[in-house]
Amino acid sequence: MKTVFRGELFHLSRSAVLLLAIAVLLVCDLFISSRSKVTESNLYDLAELPGAGTFVNFFQDNKTSPDGAAARMRLPRVKNQPETAVLQDEPGTKYENLIEVYWACSPYYFRWVLASNQGLMVIPLIFAVMFLARDFPHRVFNDSLYIGKRRREVFWGKTLFYFLLAFLVSLAGILLLTLVYASAVFRILPGGYVWSRILLHAFVDTCLMAVPFLLAFLTRNPVITGVLSALYGVLIRYTGAIYPAALKADMASWEQGSFPMTMTLICLGILVVCVAASRLLFEKQDLK
Protein backbone atom coordinates (compact mmCIF):
# COMPACT_ATOMS: atom_id res chain seq x y z
CA MET A 1 0.00 0.00 0.00
CA LYS A 2 2.87 2.33 0.84
CA THR A 3 4.40 2.09 -2.61
CA VAL A 4 1.03 2.58 -4.32
CA PHE A 5 0.48 5.70 -2.18
CA ARG A 6 3.96 6.95 -3.11
CA GLY A 7 3.09 6.34 -6.73
CA GLU A 8 -0.02 8.50 -6.38
CA LEU A 9 2.01 11.29 -4.78
CA PHE A 10 4.51 11.09 -7.60
CA HIS A 11 1.69 11.25 -10.15
CA LEU A 12 0.21 14.35 -8.52
CA SER A 13 3.58 16.07 -8.29
CA ARG A 14 4.35 15.51 -11.97
CA SER A 15 0.92 16.13 -13.48
CA ALA A 16 0.19 19.67 -14.58
CA VAL A 17 -3.40 18.64 -15.22
CA LEU A 18 -4.02 17.47 -11.67
CA LEU A 19 -2.34 20.46 -10.08
CA LEU A 20 -4.41 22.72 -12.31
CA ALA A 21 -7.56 20.86 -11.27
CA ILE A 22 -6.83 21.61 -7.62
CA ALA A 23 -6.22 25.27 -8.39
CA VAL A 24 -9.48 25.45 -10.35
CA LEU A 25 -11.32 23.81 -7.44
CA LEU A 26 -10.09 26.42 -4.99
CA VAL A 27 -10.81 29.33 -7.31
CA CYS A 28 -14.32 28.02 -8.05
CA ASP A 29 -14.90 27.57 -4.34
CA LEU A 30 -13.99 31.19 -3.66
CA PHE A 31 -15.92 32.53 -6.63
CA ILE A 32 -19.10 30.57 -6.02
CA SER A 33 -19.11 31.32 -2.31
CA SER A 34 -18.47 34.99 -2.91
CA ARG A 35 -21.64 35.28 -4.93
CA SER A 36 -23.73 35.25 -1.80
CA LYS A 37 -21.49 37.10 0.62
CA VAL A 38 -22.90 39.69 2.95
CA THR A 39 -23.10 43.16 1.47
CA GLU A 40 -24.44 46.38 2.77
CA SER A 41 -27.67 45.90 0.89
CA ASN A 42 -28.40 42.41 2.13
CA LEU A 43 -27.04 42.64 5.65
CA TYR A 44 -30.53 43.05 7.12
CA ASP A 45 -32.06 40.50 4.82
CA LEU A 46 -30.36 37.59 6.36
CA ALA A 47 -32.20 34.55 5.14
CA GLU A 48 -28.95 32.90 4.08
CA LEU A 49 -26.95 33.52 7.19
CA PRO A 50 -27.62 31.00 9.90
CA GLY A 51 -28.24 32.73 13.18
CA ALA A 52 -26.86 36.05 12.00
CA GLY A 53 -30.25 37.75 12.09
CA THR A 54 -30.56 37.16 15.81
CA PHE A 55 -27.10 38.46 16.48
CA VAL A 56 -27.46 41.62 14.43
CA ASN A 57 -30.89 42.44 15.85
CA PHE A 58 -29.64 41.98 19.37
CA PHE A 59 -26.60 44.07 18.67
CA GLN A 60 -28.66 46.86 17.21
CA ASP A 61 -31.43 46.77 19.78
CA ASN A 62 -29.12 46.77 22.74
CA LYS A 63 -26.50 49.14 21.48
CA THR A 64 -23.89 46.89 22.94
CA SER A 65 -20.37 45.95 22.00
CA PRO A 66 -19.68 42.67 20.19
CA ASP A 67 -18.01 41.46 23.34
CA GLY A 68 -21.02 42.34 25.37
CA ALA A 69 -23.27 40.69 22.86
CA ALA A 70 -21.04 37.63 22.86
CA ALA A 71 -21.28 37.27 26.60
CA ARG A 72 -25.07 37.54 26.54
CA MET A 73 -25.34 34.98 23.75
CA ARG A 74 -22.73 32.63 25.20
CA LEU A 75 -20.31 33.08 22.35
CA PRO A 76 -16.57 32.75 22.95
CA ARG A 77 -14.97 35.85 24.35
CA VAL A 78 -13.16 37.92 21.80
CA LYS A 79 -9.47 38.19 22.41
CA ASN A 80 -8.94 41.79 21.48
CA GLN A 81 -11.62 44.17 22.52
CA PRO A 82 -12.39 46.31 19.56
CA GLU A 83 -13.12 49.93 20.17
CA THR A 84 -16.56 50.60 21.44
CA ALA A 85 -18.92 49.38 18.82
CA VAL A 86 -20.72 51.92 16.83
CA LEU A 87 -24.01 51.98 15.11
CA GLN A 88 -24.18 53.50 11.76
CA ASP A 89 -24.42 57.11 12.77
CA GLU A 90 -22.14 57.25 15.78
CA PRO A 91 -18.55 58.40 15.49
CA GLY A 92 -15.51 57.63 17.53
CA THR A 93 -14.27 54.16 16.83
CA LYS A 94 -11.95 52.47 14.44
CA TYR A 95 -14.92 50.95 12.64
CA GLU A 96 -16.95 53.14 10.40
CA ASN A 97 -20.14 51.26 10.37
CA LEU A 98 -22.01 48.28 11.60
CA ILE A 99 -21.04 46.18 8.67
CA GLU A 100 -17.34 46.38 9.35
CA VAL A 101 -17.83 45.53 13.01
CA TYR A 102 -19.95 42.61 12.00
CA TRP A 103 -17.43 41.38 9.49
CA ALA A 104 -14.52 41.86 11.78
CA CYS A 105 -15.63 39.99 14.82
CA SER A 106 -18.83 38.15 14.27
CA PRO A 107 -18.39 34.49 14.85
CA TYR A 108 -21.70 34.14 13.11
CA TYR A 109 -20.12 35.40 9.94
CA PHE A 110 -17.38 32.88 10.36
CA ARG A 111 -20.03 30.24 10.84
CA TRP A 112 -21.63 31.36 7.63
CA VAL A 113 -18.31 30.90 5.82
CA LEU A 114 -18.15 27.38 7.13
CA ALA A 115 -21.78 26.46 6.67
CA SER A 116 -22.38 27.83 3.20
CA ASN A 117 -19.34 26.54 1.33
CA GLN A 118 -21.13 26.63 -1.98
CA GLY A 119 -18.04 25.38 -3.70
CA LEU A 120 -19.06 21.96 -2.48
CA MET A 121 -21.00 21.58 -5.72
CA VAL A 122 -17.81 21.73 -7.71
CA ILE A 123 -15.45 19.72 -5.57
CA PRO A 124 -17.14 16.29 -5.88
CA LEU A 125 -17.39 16.65 -9.64
CA ILE A 126 -13.79 17.55 -10.31
CA PHE A 127 -12.28 15.41 -7.58
CA ALA A 128 -13.98 12.13 -8.35
CA VAL A 129 -13.35 12.45 -12.08
CA MET A 130 -9.78 13.71 -12.04
CA PHE A 131 -8.41 11.65 -9.15
CA LEU A 132 -10.20 8.35 -9.57
CA ALA A 133 -12.74 7.76 -12.34
CA ARG A 134 -10.26 8.48 -15.16
CA ASP A 135 -8.07 5.62 -13.98
CA PHE A 136 -10.60 3.00 -15.03
CA PRO A 137 -10.73 3.58 -18.81
CA HIS A 138 -6.97 4.21 -18.83
CA ARG A 139 -6.53 0.88 -16.95
CA VAL A 140 -3.67 2.23 -14.86
CA PHE A 141 -4.74 0.06 -11.92
CA ASN A 142 -3.44 -2.87 -13.99
CA ASP A 143 0.20 -1.81 -13.82
CA SER A 144 0.24 -2.34 -10.06
CA LEU A 145 -1.61 -5.65 -10.31
CA TYR A 146 0.80 -6.94 -13.00
CA ILE A 147 3.75 -6.70 -10.61
CA GLY A 148 1.99 -8.63 -7.89
CA LYS A 149 0.28 -5.99 -5.79
CA ARG A 150 -2.90 -7.35 -4.30
CA ARG A 151 -6.14 -5.59 -5.06
CA ARG A 152 -6.48 -4.57 -1.43
CA GLU A 153 -3.03 -2.87 -1.54
CA VAL A 154 -3.95 -0.97 -4.68
CA PHE A 155 -7.34 -0.02 -3.24
CA TRP A 156 -6.10 1.23 0.12
CA GLY A 157 -3.18 3.11 -1.43
CA LYS A 158 -5.60 4.88 -3.74
CA THR A 159 -8.19 5.44 -1.00
CA LEU A 160 -5.71 6.91 1.46
CA PHE A 161 -4.40 9.28 -1.17
CA TYR A 162 -7.87 10.33 -2.34
CA PHE A 163 -9.22 11.16 1.12
CA LEU A 164 -6.04 12.75 2.39
CA LEU A 165 -6.00 15.01 -0.65
CA ALA A 166 -9.74 15.71 -0.30
CA PHE A 167 -9.16 16.75 3.31
CA LEU A 168 -6.25 19.01 2.41
CA VAL A 169 -8.17 20.63 -0.46
CA SER A 170 -11.25 21.14 1.75
CA LEU A 171 -9.05 22.61 4.46
CA ALA A 172 -7.34 24.91 2.00
CA GLY A 173 -10.70 26.03 0.61
CA ILE A 174 -12.13 26.82 4.02
CA LEU A 175 -8.95 28.60 5.10
CA LEU A 176 -8.95 30.67 1.93
CA LEU A 177 -12.60 31.65 2.40
CA THR A 178 -11.98 32.56 6.02
CA LEU A 179 -8.87 34.57 5.18
CA VAL A 180 -10.64 36.46 2.42
CA TYR A 181 -13.97 37.14 4.11
CA ALA A 182 -13.48 36.78 7.85
CA SER A 183 -9.76 36.98 8.54
CA ALA A 184 -10.27 38.93 11.73
CA VAL A 185 -11.52 35.80 13.45
CA PHE A 186 -7.92 34.59 13.68
CA ARG A 187 -7.06 37.76 15.50
CA ILE A 188 -9.97 38.20 17.83
CA LEU A 189 -11.31 34.76 18.55
CA PRO A 190 -9.62 32.02 20.54
CA GLY A 191 -7.47 29.79 18.33
CA GLY A 192 -9.08 26.62 19.63
CA TYR A 193 -12.52 27.88 18.69
CA VAL A 194 -11.51 28.82 15.15
CA TRP A 195 -9.42 25.77 14.35
CA SER A 196 -11.81 23.25 15.84
CA ARG A 197 -14.54 24.51 13.56
CA ILE A 198 -12.33 24.70 10.50
CA LEU A 199 -11.03 21.18 11.00
CA LEU A 200 -14.46 19.71 11.68
CA HIS A 201 -15.87 21.31 8.54
CA ALA A 202 -12.96 20.01 6.49
CA PHE A 203 -13.60 16.57 7.98
CA VAL A 204 -17.31 16.78 7.11
CA ASP A 205 -16.52 17.83 3.52
CA THR A 206 -14.05 14.97 3.22
CA CYS A 207 -16.60 12.42 4.42
CA LEU A 208 -19.13 13.70 1.91
CA MET A 209 -16.57 13.11 -0.85
CA ALA A 210 -17.01 9.41 -0.15
CA VAL A 211 -20.18 9.27 -2.25
CA PRO A 212 -18.48 10.37 -5.49
CA PHE A 213 -15.67 7.96 -4.57
CA LEU A 214 -18.20 5.11 -4.54
CA LEU A 215 -19.80 6.40 -7.76
CA ALA A 216 -16.43 6.11 -9.50
CA PHE A 217 -16.09 2.46 -8.50
CA LEU A 218 -19.68 1.74 -9.44
CA THR A 219 -19.65 3.31 -12.88
CA ARG A 220 -15.93 3.05 -13.81
CA ASN A 221 -16.67 5.83 -16.26
CA PRO A 222 -15.43 9.41 -15.83
CA VAL A 223 -18.33 11.02 -17.72
CA ILE A 224 -21.06 9.24 -15.79
CA THR A 225 -19.17 9.77 -12.53
CA GLY A 226 -18.87 13.48 -13.28
CA VAL A 227 -22.55 13.89 -14.06
CA LEU A 228 -23.70 11.96 -11.00
CA SER A 229 -21.19 13.75 -8.75
CA ALA A 230 -22.40 17.12 -9.98
CA LEU A 231 -26.01 16.11 -9.28
CA TYR A 232 -24.95 14.92 -5.86
CA GLY A 233 -23.26 18.25 -5.13
CA VAL A 234 -26.35 20.16 -6.20
CA LEU A 235 -28.58 17.85 -4.17
CA ILE A 236 -26.78 18.32 -0.89
CA ARG A 237 -26.32 22.03 -1.44
CA TYR A 238 -29.83 22.98 -2.40
CA THR A 239 -32.01 20.42 -0.70
CA GLY A 240 -30.15 20.64 2.57
CA ALA A 241 -30.19 16.86 2.78
CA ILE A 242 -27.79 15.99 5.64
CA TYR A 243 -25.66 19.04 4.94
CA PRO A 244 -25.88 21.90 5.64
CA ALA A 245 -29.26 21.75 7.44
CA ALA A 246 -28.19 19.17 10.01
CA LEU A 247 -24.82 20.81 10.23
CA LYS A 248 -26.39 24.19 10.99
CA ALA A 249 -28.45 22.71 13.78
CA ASP A 250 -25.54 20.84 15.26
CA MET A 251 -23.15 23.74 14.93
CA ALA A 252 -25.65 25.90 16.80
CA SER A 253 -25.62 23.38 19.63
CA TRP A 254 -21.83 23.55 19.60
CA GLU A 255 -22.09 27.24 20.39
CA GLN A 256 -23.96 26.23 23.51
CA GLY A 257 -21.16 23.88 24.52
CA SER A 258 -22.08 20.45 23.17
CA PHE A 259 -19.91 19.01 20.40
CA PRO A 260 -21.88 18.15 17.21
CA MET A 261 -21.59 14.42 17.73
CA THR A 262 -24.63 13.46 15.65
CA MET A 263 -23.34 15.24 12.61
CA THR A 264 -19.87 13.82 13.05
CA LEU A 265 -21.16 10.28 13.36
CA ILE A 266 -23.43 10.62 10.34
CA CYS A 267 -20.54 11.81 8.20
CA LEU A 268 -18.22 9.14 9.51
CA GLY A 269 -20.90 6.55 8.77
CA ILE A 270 -21.21 7.76 5.18
CA LEU A 271 -17.46 7.51 4.79
CA VAL A 272 -17.24 4.00 6.20
CA VAL A 273 -20.17 2.64 4.19
CA CYS A 274 -18.99 4.11 0.89
CA VAL A 275 -15.40 2.97 1.34
CA ALA A 276 -16.50 -0.53 2.38
CA ALA A 277 -18.82 -0.83 -0.64
CA SER A 278 -16.08 0.42 -2.96
CA ARG A 279 -13.64 -2.08 -1.50
CA LEU A 280 -16.05 -4.92 -2.12
CA LEU A 281 -16.71 -3.77 -5.69
CA PHE A 282 -13.03 -3.47 -6.54
CA GLU A 283 -12.28 -6.89 -5.10
CA LYS A 284 -14.99 -8.61 -7.13
CA GLN A 285 -14.85 -6.67 -10.39
CA ASP A 286 -13.28 -8.10 -13.53
CA LEU A 287 -10.85 -5.50 -14.81
CA LYS A 288 -10.14 -4.85 -18.47
Binding site: V4, R6, G7, S15, H138, N142, L145, Y146, G148, D286
Partner: protein
Protein backbone atom coordinates in the same frame (compact mmCIF):
# COMPACT_ATOMS: atom_id res chain seq x y z
CA UNK B 1 14.07 -27.33 -9.96
CA UNK B 2 11.21 -27.36 -12.38
CA UNK B 3 11.59 -26.01 -15.88
CA UNK B 4 7.97 -25.02 -15.97
CA UNK B 5 7.53 -21.28 -15.48
CA UNK B 6 3.83 -21.06 -16.21
CA UNK B 7 1.03 -23.57 -16.12
CA UNK B 8 -2.70 -23.19 -16.71
CA UNK B 9 -4.83 -26.21 -15.81
CA UNK B 10 -8.44 -26.59 -16.87
CA UNK B 11 -8.88 -22.84 -17.13
CA UNK B 12 -12.44 -21.79 -17.91
CA UNK B 13 -13.92 -18.32 -18.16
CA UNK B 14 -17.36 -17.50 -19.46
CA UNK B 15 -18.81 -14.15 -20.38
CA UNK B 16 -22.53 -14.58 -20.52
CA UNK B 17 -23.20 -17.70 -22.55
CA UNK B 18 -19.88 -17.68 -24.40
CA UNK B 19 -16.77 -19.45 -23.16
CA UNK B 20 -13.68 -17.29 -23.68
CA UNK B 21 -11.60 -20.07 -22.15
CA UNK B 22 -12.87 -23.63 -22.19
CA UNK B 23 -10.83 -25.95 -20.02
CA UNK B 24 -7.53 -24.59 -21.33
CA UNK B 25 -4.33 -26.42 -20.45
CA UNK B 26 -1.00 -24.76 -21.10
CA UNK B 27 2.56 -25.25 -19.94
CA UNK B 28 5.48 -22.92 -20.65
CA UNK B 29 9.06 -24.08 -20.24
CA UNK B 30 11.95 -21.87 -19.17
CA UNK B 31 14.05 -20.15 -21.78
CA UNK B 32 11.61 -20.40 -24.69
CA UNK B 33 9.78 -17.80 -26.74
CA UNK B 34 6.20 -18.82 -27.29
CA UNK B 35 3.88 -17.42 -29.92
CA UNK B 36 0.23 -17.83 -28.97
CA UNK B 37 -1.74 -17.58 -32.18
CA UNK B 38 -5.45 -17.22 -32.44
CA UNK B 39 -8.20 -15.27 -34.15
CA UNK B 40 -10.03 -12.46 -32.34
CA UNK B 41 -12.29 -14.02 -29.72
CA UNK B 42 -10.17 -17.15 -29.36
CA UNK B 43 -9.28 -16.32 -25.74
CA UNK B 44 -5.73 -14.94 -25.98
CA UNK B 45 -6.31 -11.80 -23.95
CA UNK B 46 -8.58 -13.57 -21.46
CA UNK B 47 -5.81 -16.06 -20.75
CA UNK B 48 -3.37 -13.27 -19.97
CA UNK B 49 -5.95 -11.47 -17.85
CA UNK B 50 -6.37 -14.64 -15.78
CA UNK B 51 -2.60 -14.85 -15.40
CA UNK B 52 -2.47 -11.21 -14.25
CA UNK B 53 -5.37 -11.55 -11.81
CA UNK B 54 -7.45 -8.99 -13.69
CA UNK B 55 -10.24 -11.54 -14.03
CA UNK B 56 -11.03 -14.55 -11.91
CA UNK B 57 -11.51 -17.75 -13.90
CA UNK B 58 -14.71 -19.68 -13.33
CA UNK B 59 -12.66 -22.81 -12.79
CA UNK B 60 -9.14 -24.07 -13.18
CA UNK B 61 -5.85 -22.91 -11.81
CA UNK B 62 -2.90 -20.75 -12.78
CA UNK B 63 0.60 -21.58 -11.61
CA UNK B 64 3.33 -18.95 -11.99
CA UNK B 65 6.97 -19.84 -11.33
CA UNK B 66 5.86 -22.82 -9.29
CA UNK B 67 3.40 -20.83 -7.16
CA UNK B 68 -0.36 -21.22 -6.98
CA UNK B 69 -3.14 -19.65 -4.91
CA UNK B 70 -1.89 -16.83 -2.74
CA UNK B 71 1.69 -17.49 -3.75
CA UNK B 72 1.15 -16.08 -7.24
CA UNK B 73 1.21 -12.53 -5.86
CA UNK B 74 4.84 -12.88 -4.86
CA UNK B 75 5.59 -14.73 -8.09
CA UNK B 76 4.19 -11.87 -10.15
CA UNK B 77 7.04 -9.68 -8.87
CA UNK B 78 9.12 -11.59 -11.43
CA UNK B 79 6.62 -11.35 -14.25
CA UNK B 80 6.34 -8.59 -16.82
CA UNK B 81 3.01 -8.06 -18.55
CA UNK B 82 1.49 -6.00 -21.28
CA UNK B 83 -2.14 -6.88 -21.81
CA UNK B 84 -4.64 -5.36 -24.21
CA UNK B 85 -2.48 -2.38 -25.08
CA UNK B 86 -0.54 0.18 -23.07
CA UNK B 87 -1.99 1.21 -19.69
CA UNK B 88 -0.37 4.58 -19.10
CA UNK B 89 -1.16 7.84 -17.37
CA UNK B 90 -1.92 10.18 -20.24
CA UNK B 91 -1.11 13.28 -18.22
CA UNK B 92 2.46 12.12 -17.54
CA UNK B 93 5.44 11.92 -19.87
CA UNK B 94 6.93 8.59 -21.00
CA UNK B 95 9.79 8.88 -18.55
CA UNK B 96 7.49 9.82 -15.66
CA UNK B 97 5.22 6.85 -16.38
CA UNK B 98 8.27 4.60 -16.11
CA UNK B 99 9.48 6.39 -13.00
CA UNK B 100 6.07 6.03 -11.39
CA UNK B 101 6.09 2.29 -12.05
CA UNK B 102 9.58 2.21 -10.62
CA UNK B 103 8.28 3.85 -7.43
CA UNK B 104 5.58 1.22 -7.11
CA UNK B 105 8.10 -1.56 -7.72
CA UNK B 106 10.17 -0.06 -4.95
CA UNK B 107 13.69 -1.33 -5.52
CA UNK B 108 14.63 -0.56 -9.07
CA UNK B 109 18.35 -0.31 -9.78
CA UNK B 110 19.57 3.03 -10.99
CA UNK B 111 19.91 3.27 -14.73
CA UNK B 112 17.35 0.58 -15.56
CA UNK B 113 14.85 3.04 -17.05
CA UNK B 114 17.50 4.81 -19.11
CA UNK B 115 18.87 1.52 -20.43
CA UNK B 116 15.46 0.29 -21.57
CA UNK B 117 14.58 3.61 -23.16
CA UNK B 118 17.87 3.59 -25.05
CA UNK B 119 17.37 0.02 -26.24
CA UNK B 120 13.93 0.91 -27.58
CA UNK B 121 15.16 4.18 -29.10
CA UNK B 122 12.89 6.33 -26.93
CA UNK B 123 14.83 9.53 -27.31
CA UNK B 124 14.83 12.79 -25.33
CA UNK B 125 13.13 14.35 -28.32
CA UNK B 126 10.34 11.82 -28.02
CA UNK B 127 10.05 12.16 -24.28
CA UNK B 128 10.91 15.65 -23.10
CA UNK B 129 7.86 17.20 -21.51
CA UNK B 130 5.37 15.71 -23.94
CA UNK B 131 2.65 13.78 -22.15
CA UNK B 132 1.65 10.30 -23.24
CA UNK B 133 -1.69 11.62 -24.41
CA UNK B 134 0.13 13.47 -27.20
CA UNK B 135 2.39 10.57 -28.21
CA UNK B 136 1.89 8.31 -31.23
CA UNK B 137 0.72 4.73 -30.71
CA UNK B 138 4.16 3.23 -31.41
CA UNK B 139 5.81 5.30 -28.70
CA UNK B 140 3.12 4.33 -26.20
CA UNK B 141 3.67 0.68 -27.05
CA UNK B 142 7.43 1.03 -26.56
CA UNK B 143 6.82 2.66 -23.18
CA UNK B 144 4.54 -0.21 -22.17
CA UNK B 145 7.16 -2.76 -23.27
CA UNK B 146 9.80 -0.96 -21.20
CA UNK B 147 7.41 -0.96 -18.26
CA UNK B 148 6.91 -4.73 -18.58
CA UNK B 149 10.68 -5.25 -18.58
CA UNK B 150 11.42 -2.96 -15.63
CA UNK B 151 11.36 -5.67 -12.94
CA UNK B 152 13.90 -7.95 -14.73
CA UNK B 153 11.14 -10.51 -15.29
CA UNK B 154 11.68 -14.26 -15.55
CA UNK B 155 8.37 -14.54 -17.38
CA UNK B 156 7.19 -12.02 -19.92
CA UNK B 157 3.58 -12.04 -21.11
CA UNK B 158 2.89 -9.70 -24.02
CA UNK B 159 -0.37 -9.23 -25.83
CA UNK B 160 -0.20 -8.30 -29.52
CA UNK B 161 2.82 -6.03 -29.33
CA UNK B 162 3.76 -6.28 -33.00
CA UNK B 163 0.49 -4.70 -34.06
CA UNK B 164 1.59 -1.46 -32.39
CA UNK B 165 5.16 -1.35 -33.72
CA UNK B 166 6.58 -0.45 -37.11
CA UNK B 167 9.30 -2.53 -38.79
CA UNK B 168 12.24 -0.72 -37.21
CA UNK B 169 10.72 -0.73 -33.74
CA UNK B 170 9.82 -4.42 -34.08
CA UNK B 171 13.48 -5.17 -34.80
CA UNK B 172 14.56 -3.15 -31.74
CA UNK B 173 12.03 -5.03 -29.63
CA UNK B 174 13.27 -8.44 -30.80
CA UNK B 175 16.90 -7.45 -30.15
CA UNK B 176 15.99 -6.24 -26.67
CA UNK B 177 14.21 -9.48 -25.78
CA UNK B 178 17.18 -11.50 -26.97
CA UNK B 179 19.58 -9.29 -24.99
CA UNK B 180 17.47 -9.68 -21.85
CA UNK B 181 17.39 -13.46 -22.34
CA UNK B 182 21.18 -13.51 -22.54
CA UNK B 183 21.45 -11.66 -19.24
CA UNK B 184 19.13 -13.93 -17.29
CA UNK B 185 16.75 -16.85 -17.87
CA UNK B 186 13.54 -15.44 -19.29
CA UNK B 187 10.52 -17.02 -20.93
CA UNK B 188 8.41 -14.96 -23.27
CA UNK B 189 4.84 -15.50 -24.41
CA UNK B 190 3.58 -13.20 -27.14
CA UNK B 191 0.06 -13.39 -28.45
CA UNK B 192 -0.90 -12.42 -31.94
CA UNK B 193 -3.27 -12.96 -34.79
CA UNK B 194 -0.74 -13.17 -37.59
CA UNK B 195 1.74 -16.01 -37.91
CA UNK B 196 4.10 -14.04 -40.13
CA UNK B 197 4.77 -11.48 -37.38
CA UNK B 198 5.82 -14.10 -34.88
CA UNK B 199 7.41 -16.81 -37.00
CA UNK B 200 10.89 -15.24 -37.29
CA UNK B 201 11.02 -14.61 -33.56
CA UNK B 202 9.50 -17.48 -31.63
CA UNK B 203 10.79 -20.94 -30.72
CA UNK B 204 7.37 -22.50 -30.10
CA UNK B 205 3.94 -21.88 -31.57
CA UNK B 206 0.64 -22.53 -29.84
CA UNK B 207 -2.63 -22.49 -31.69
CA UNK B 208 -5.61 -21.28 -29.67
CA UNK B 209 -9.15 -21.85 -30.87
CA UNK B 210 -12.40 -21.40 -28.97
CA UNK B 211 -10.67 -21.18 -25.64
CA UNK B 212 -8.43 -24.24 -25.99
CA UNK B 213 -4.92 -24.98 -27.22
CA UNK B 214 -5.63 -27.21 -30.20
CA UNK B 215 -2.10 -27.70 -31.53
CA UNK B 216 1.47 -26.78 -30.75
CA UNK B 217 4.58 -26.71 -32.94
CA UNK B 218 8.25 -26.21 -32.40
CA UNK B 219 10.23 -24.01 -34.70
CA UNK B 220 12.04 -27.01 -36.11
CA UNK B 221 8.76 -28.71 -37.01
CA UNK B 222 7.54 -25.69 -38.91
CA UNK B 223 10.85 -25.07 -40.60
CA UNK B 224 10.66 -28.57 -41.97
CA UNK B 225 7.24 -27.83 -43.49
CA UNK B 226 7.64 -24.22 -44.62
CA UNK B 227 9.90 -23.59 -47.61
CA UNK B 228 12.94 -21.53 -46.72
CA UNK B 229 12.52 -19.17 -49.62
CA UNK B 230 9.17 -17.84 -48.38
CA UNK B 231 9.84 -14.34 -47.09
CA UNK B 232 6.76 -12.29 -47.77
CA UNK B 233 4.23 -12.06 -44.96
CA UNK B 234 1.31 -13.23 -47.08
CA UNK B 235 3.25 -16.26 -48.28
CA UNK B 236 4.08 -17.24 -44.72
CA UNK B 237 0.45 -16.79 -43.66
CA UNK B 238 -0.73 -18.96 -46.52
CA UNK B 239 1.84 -21.62 -45.71
CA UNK B 240 0.73 -21.72 -42.11
CA UNK B 241 -2.92 -21.88 -43.07
CA UNK B 242 -2.12 -24.88 -45.20
CA UNK B 243 -0.32 -26.62 -42.33
CA UNK B 244 -3.22 -25.84 -40.03
CA UNK B 245 -5.72 -27.23 -42.46
CA UNK B 246 -3.70 -30.39 -42.89
CA UNK B 247 -3.42 -30.92 -39.14
CA UNK B 248 -6.80 -29.77 -37.94
CA UNK B 249 -8.95 -30.16 -40.99
CA UNK B 250 -10.19 -26.57 -40.80
Amino acid sequence: MTDTVFRASGLTKRYGGAAALDGLDLQLTAGRIYALLGDPGSGRTTLLRCAAGLVKPDSGEVEILGETGDGVYAARHQVGMLIDGPALYRDLSIRNNLKLQGRILGDLPKGRIGKLMKALAITPRDTGNRTVGGCPAGLKMKCAIAMALLPFPRLLLLDEVFGGLDTDDSALFVDLIKAEMEERPMTTLITGQFFAELYPFATDYLLLEKGKIVRSYTREELQARIPEDLQRAQELEDAFKTIRKEDLGA
